[in-house]
Symmetry: none
Subunit: 161 residues, 2 copies
Amino acid sequence: MPLNFLIRNKHVILYGVSLAILMFLMRWLELRFIIFNHALEMYIGAIALIFTALGIWLALKLTKPKVEIQVVEQIVEKVYSVESSDEFKLNEATLNELGLSRRELEVLELMATGLSNQEIAAQLFVSLNTIKTHTSKVFEKLDVKRRTQAVEKAKRLSLIP
Amino acid sequence: MPLNFLIRNKHVILYGVSLAILMFLMRWLELRFIIFNHALEMYIGAIALIFTALGIWLALKLTKPKVEIQVVEQIVEKVYSVESSDEFKLNEATLNELGLSRRELEVLELMATGLSNQEIAAQLFVSLNTIKTHTSKVFEKLDVKRRTQAVEKAKRLSLIP
DNA sequence: TGTAAAATCACCCGAAAGTATGAGTATAAA
DNA sequence: TTTATACTCATACTTTCGGGTGATTTTACA
């Protein structure tokens, strides 16, 4: 199946062809701006071509056994929990250090549950603008740019469960 | 559609352009440091090396490793002591049940770190639109409306750490 | 060899999020 | 009583998200 082969490797072939075109282009440029060692240029071009092909061939050969078998162990766990499993301990120290206010933490918590600003506003009986102000301050204090980052960081710092 | 053509073949064109730059750079180097000619062997060797690497990179980029997943069920009784290990065990069952693809999970993971779609696109070397498509599908499959909810739910389902 | 799923990308549009700035109110501390 | 802080809200503007549509290209598979 030569056709199939061509189709299958059309990227590689395209690459090769473009390389060839480039070579001709460069040769042409060379003719226009004179000065150059043709033999050396072609030599280099040939080497580049050959070794590119070699690299491709090599990589393809090396990845031949590309059917990687991943053994995934599905563990059925029997957990003898010694309580304490999901107890959340708020990191008060960091909280104070960051200077997060009570309200800001509250907003942060709701944010972490995936609520939109609008929904948070409704839940806290304040306006959307107020929530925006809070979130802005939270981002500023946590030194992040987005709510997703804020949530991620807050969890990492044990500010929220 | 010349624009469309450019977009469609941007990979090939990129290769070509970078190759061209490299060639010109080499020529320039040669002109500036004639001493280099004395070490012709080294010069050629370097070129060979570079293009071999280029070929390998190209081939690897164009061939995806086929991963065959073999799920081996294993009943293990695990006892968690007080400081239980925080190893993450991906919930493959739920993953398959939801029909999340590999790429979608990948995007979800990056999303969970707080990256914007733009940043995820940059990291995965694809366009912003592609990421939008992925995120949309993720939201659909997870049955959520926002990325924050998606992350929250994914963590809850042990799809991500 | 045809088909189905996955991955890629474009374009549009409206909604949500985020930024910047200013300002009024309440409250607790100095 | 002044001062500082937290909380509230507004307006205006920019950016990002998310939905919807349609299309091409790979890849896998029957």
